[in-house]
Each structure stands twice: as C-alpha cells, then as structure tokens.
Amino acid sequence: MIQKKICMVGVFGAGKTCLVQQYVHSLFSTKYHSTVGVKIDRKTVALDGTDLTLLLWDLAGRDDAADISVSYLRGGHGIIYVVDGTRRETFDQIFELQTIVTNAIGVVPSVLALNKVDLTESWALKPADDAAMAKEPWQVIRTSAKTGEGVEASFAWLAKATVTGAAQ
C-alpha cells in the first residue's frame, strides 16, 4: 500500500485540527483544543483503483511562524498550509511558514486552505491578496471545517498531487 505523509501547517488557531477532524471523522467541534506536539491520523483513499493511505501530521500551531519545529516536517510528501480567513495575521505569516517549510524539505505539492469561509461577515482577506497567493506553487482552496466546504477537495487534490508529483 502506498503511504504519503501530509503535514498540516499554520499558526495557532488557524483550524488545522478541525480540518483533519472533519476530513477523517466528519466531526466539527466548537470547543478549541490546542495540539501539543503532533497528532497523527490516517485515512485511506482510493486513487485510480489503488489504495493510498494519507498519514496526516497535525503540527502544533505557534504564535510565531518561526517557531515551527522543522524536524516534524522531515519526510513530508505534501503540505496543507492553513489560514484563518477571518484573521489577517494568519495570512501574512503563511508566506514565512512556506519559506521555512521549503528550506526544510524542498518544494512538495501543497494546498493553501483559506479556512473558515463560512464566516463571510468577518472575512479579512481582500481580492488584492489573490495576486500574492497566485505567485506561489500551491493550490488555493477555500475551506470550512464547520460545513465541510472544500475539505474533501483539498485532501483529494493533494493526495493525487503527491502521487503524480504535480506541484500545483
């Protein structure tokens, strides 16, 4: 069976754990629990008739992007960068995180998940941000761990990309 390690990366409270919970268990919790270290979940998906197991490494978020533990990234086949679309600072920090990740493990298939898209009233990203996002080698997908919007699509795209080697 093919296995691929996917790392969930983002600053504190962006929704990394909620996205994994929604994807693996179809669960959304309103109670916030910060992750300590790394929590690992697994999900097996069928891809072109072959079983592919995704090892989902949910890395603890930090207040400062520079605090990410790069040792956890080793062997990562794909990255999901998670931004809380209602907190502008989580978007600003994602580019620094991307640099740290790329320096650690090189360019691997990546998704930029713009999370909490259900909270349209509080959305803090501007149309002008699209240009900055478009420059980077990642697939941008709007997600909501609460409603499930974009969650399956994010992991499905990344699963396929890790096999085909597509960067974007």
């Binding site: 390690k5 309103t30 270290g37």
Partner: protein, 271 residues
C-alpha cells in the same frame, strides 16, 4: 539521549480494596549478544551489546465500576507484558525514515490486545477493559499512544502541558456540540470512557513530541489528576530532585487529597 532519569510507582489509594492500575518501564536496545565467534575480539566487540536505546513506559488503569475487576487487572498485566515484548520487536526494525511503521506496529499491538480481550471475554459491561497511555522515547522524540483517561503531560521550564486528551463521553459530546462544558461538568455520564481497550469502542490516539533537555514527561492514571491539579503537578515536576522523589511526592499528594482511586505515576526527565 545523554541521560534519562525515570521512575514509576503505583499505590492502591485510601478507598479501593485492590489496585487495578499497572505500569511498566522497559528499555529496548538494538543489540546483538554473541555467544561464540571466530571474529577478532575487536570485531566481536563492535557488534556486542550497545546500540541505540529506547525506553518504553506505560500506565494502564483497569476500568472501574465493572464486575470482575480482578479479572480486568490480570488482563491488563498480560496485555502490558505483550506490549513490552512486541514493542521491543518493533524497535529492532526502527528507523527514523520509517517511524510511521514503528508507530503503526505499536498501535496494532494495542488493537491486538483489544481483540484478544474481546475474543476471550466478549463485549459486555462485565468484560475487563483498560485505559492506556504509552510512550516510547527514541532519542528525544516521544511516540505516544493513548486510550481512555490516563494521561501524559510534559513540563518545559515552568509550563505544564497535557499532551493527551481524555477520551470520555463528556469530551465526545462536547466535540459533537451536543453538550456545553457546563453541561458536561454536571452530567453523571461525562467521565465514562468513550474508548477503552476491551471496551465497546477503541479509538487509539497517536502522536509524538520532541522533548528538549530538561523537559519532564509524566504519565499517570486519573487517580492522580483527580486530586492533584495542574499547578501542583507543575510545582513538583519543577523541583530539582530525582524522578523517584518527584513520583513519590505526586502520589503522596494524591493520597493526601483523598486517595479515592488507585494512583500511578511515571516521571521521566530528559537529560
């Protein structure tokens, strides 16, 4: 790892007639014991003994409130011995590049024990069941597998963090959004286990954490944390005393606080 000071103990407490907690601390070494060889002594010495060492530590708490508690206790002991043996086997094949396989085998060991308990005793409220918090320290990386409401904490500096999340009905209902924290605190079923080895549900939680020199890891049964709060735990783990003294002090605090349950603690300080 430059050094690990580790100690564990268990106490029946002040109320229970028997102790259904169990713990184990074991070291695993990638080593070869040569009985005889025509190799030169120097060459033989190169292979003999030594090797990277890992430490396995685990706390299990036989599920209370079920008839056959003694049976559960015995099953836990058997299960733990199985963990040690099988985990040691896993470690022989350990490499950082394939650490996910190591974790999978550890988790499978837990699932195998669960299946064995179900096979022998069936699935009922009378069947023996247990919680488990297991950590394997390889270098400074701690691999954790957790079931139920035994806990793992670590202290870094003065900050204590709970690594595991209790797998209880209360937590599960709050996850579903069905209960608020206030409702969970009042519900009699909130502390019932949502996951147990040998129980009707088993959902092992798997994770890891990289420890730093000076960090202290604590595994404990709920007999400790129901009487000793986080601040008191942090104060004890923060003392510059050996792990044995810290473990004894934590258990003494739980007993002084009422000792209403069996209490077990393993303290491991990374050098």
């Amino acid at each position: 790892m430059t050094g690990l000071d580790i100690f564990g103990l268990t106490d029946v407490g002040r109320v229970r007639a028997g102790n259904e907690d169990h713990f184990v601390i074991a070291s695993m070494r990638k080593s070869v014991t040569i009985s005889q060889s025509s190799l030169s002594p120097a060459e033989a010495e190169r292979w003999q003994g030594g090797g990277a060492e890992a430490f396995l530590m685990a706390v299990a708490d036989g599920v209370g409130g079920r008839p056959g508690g003694e049976l559960a206790s015995g099953a836990v002991v058997t299960g733990l011995l199985g963990y040690v043996g099988r985990a040691a086997g896993c470690y022989q094949q350990f490499s950082l590049e394939e650490e996910h396989l190591f974790l999978e085998r550890l988790e499978q060991t837990v699932r195998d024990t669960h299946e064995e308990l179900l096979r022998v005793h069936g699935e009922s409220e009378k069947a023996p069941a247990t919680t488990l918090t297991l950590a394997v320290l390889v270098g400074r990386r701690a691999y954790l597998i957790h079931v139920g409401d035994t806990r793992a904490y670590y202290l870094r500096g003065t900050r204590l963090r709970q690594i595991t999340r209790d797998q209880t009905i209360g937590e599960y209902m709050m996850d579903l959004g069905a209960w608020t924290e206030a409702q969970a605190s009042k519900a009699s079923a909130a502390k019932s286990l949502a996951s147990a080895i040998g129980g009707s549900e088993l959902t092992p939680s798997v994770g890891l954490i990289d420890l730093e020199p000076g960090d202290t890891l604590l595994l404990c049964s709920d007999g400790l944390n129901k009487h000793v709060d986080d601040a008191a735990i942090a104060a004890v783990l923060g003392k510059a005393i050996p792990a044995e003294a810290q473990a004894r002090e934590l258990v003494a605090l739980a007993l002084a606080g009422g000792g209403t349950d069996n209490v077990t603690a393993i303290v491991a300080r990374v050098g």
